[in-house]
């Protein structure tokens, strides 16, 4: 059974890492967005493997269902010319930084630091008590009620902010006038010019 789980974990991490690499390297932005969605799915599957069902489903709902569509919409609204080079001038510098960071993170984990794993208390067979959705809900309205409210406020602020930034004024946008209105407009302008 462990072998099966390891194989699945290997596949999933390969999917996640591979998709992430493609997101960064592929030229066409739309393809990058689709690879991003693939990596989100991989992460959601990883959560399922870590038996955090609720987080996995929320991940699918929020990331794949909403954020990726938002990104696709944004890409389509800002069709820039494809010609620009994929990476900025100093891309190798950022590559160095990233590798360095990975090394820093990678080394201590493998020098054998011991984590205070809780020894399985009950007899071998008993499933550990996992805090599922119910505890989560209860936690939101008891210990974390402040954080919950702040998150709510944050979301509304973000909502309103996004609309204000991206929304043009109504009146400035030139309405498509019907023919009658056009004629009317032209007549008025001539009247105005002839007067002054």
């Amino acid at each position: 059974m462990d072998l099966l789980i390891q194989i699945i974990f290997g596949l999933l991490s390969a999917l996640v890492i591979g998709a992430a690499m493609m997101v960064v390297t592929v030229r066409n932005v739309i393809h990058a967005a689709l690879w991003l969605i693939a990596s989100f799915f991989g992460v959601a599957a990883l959560y399922l493997l870590l038996e955090a069902e609720f987080i996995a489903v929320v991940q699918v709902l929020v990331y794949v269902g909403a954020i990726s569509i938002l990104i696709l919409f944004a890409i389509m609204l800002t069709r820039s010319n494809e010609g620009d080079r994929l990476l900025t001038k100093y891309w190798w510098a950022s590559a160095l930084i990233a590798l360095g960071l990975f090394g820093v993170a990678f080394l201590p984990t493998f020098t054998g630091t011991t984590w205070n794993m809780p020894q399985p208390t009950g007899p071998a067979g008993t499933p550990e008590v996992l805090s599922g959705v119910e505890e989560l809900g209860r936690g939101f309205v008891s210990e974390f009620v402040l954080h919950f409210e702040i998150a709510g406020v944050l979301l509304t602020v973000a909502l309103i902010g996004a609309i204000v930034i991206a929304f043009e004024e109504r009146s400035r946008r030139r309405r498509v006038l019907t023919l009658a209105e056009e004629l009317e407009l032209r007549k008025r302008r001539q009247a105005a010019e002839s007067v002054d």
Partner: protein, 105 residues
């Protein structure tokens, strides 16, 4: 699950994802590419949260709670970020990170 896969493996995957996200955010020319990089970094943070919760403290729900908070923040950030990108596009007519360099307008 905890027996089969050591915690370190999951952390390594999360770290790798984070670094790739960082590289993407720093080096991609298209603004939306930068945003995608940021999303990847947030995702890797989430993996860490859930991994630590699953391996170390499965009984307390602090891990998943914060994971959900991170998801909400990421959603809000993506919304505002894209709104800004569209606003920039509408005024400068480009999404090229390099050319958006003046603070005027």
């Amino acid at each position: 699950m905890t027996r089969a896969i050591p915690l370190e493996a999951v952390l390594v995957v999360a770290a790798a994802l984070f670094c790739i996200g960082l590289f993407g955010a720093l080096s991609r020319r298209n603004l939306i590419g930068v945003l995608m990089g940021i999303e990847l970094m947030l995702n890797s943070a989430n993996i860490n949260l859930v991994a630590f919760w699953r391996y170390l403290e499965p009984r307390f729900i602090t891990g998943p709670t914060f994971a959900i908070f991170v998801i909400t923040v990421a959603a809000a950030e993506a919304a505002v970020g894209l709104a800004m990108i569209i606003a920039i596009y509408r005024s400068w007519n480009t999404v090229n990170a390099d050319s958006v360099d003046s603070l005027k307008g």
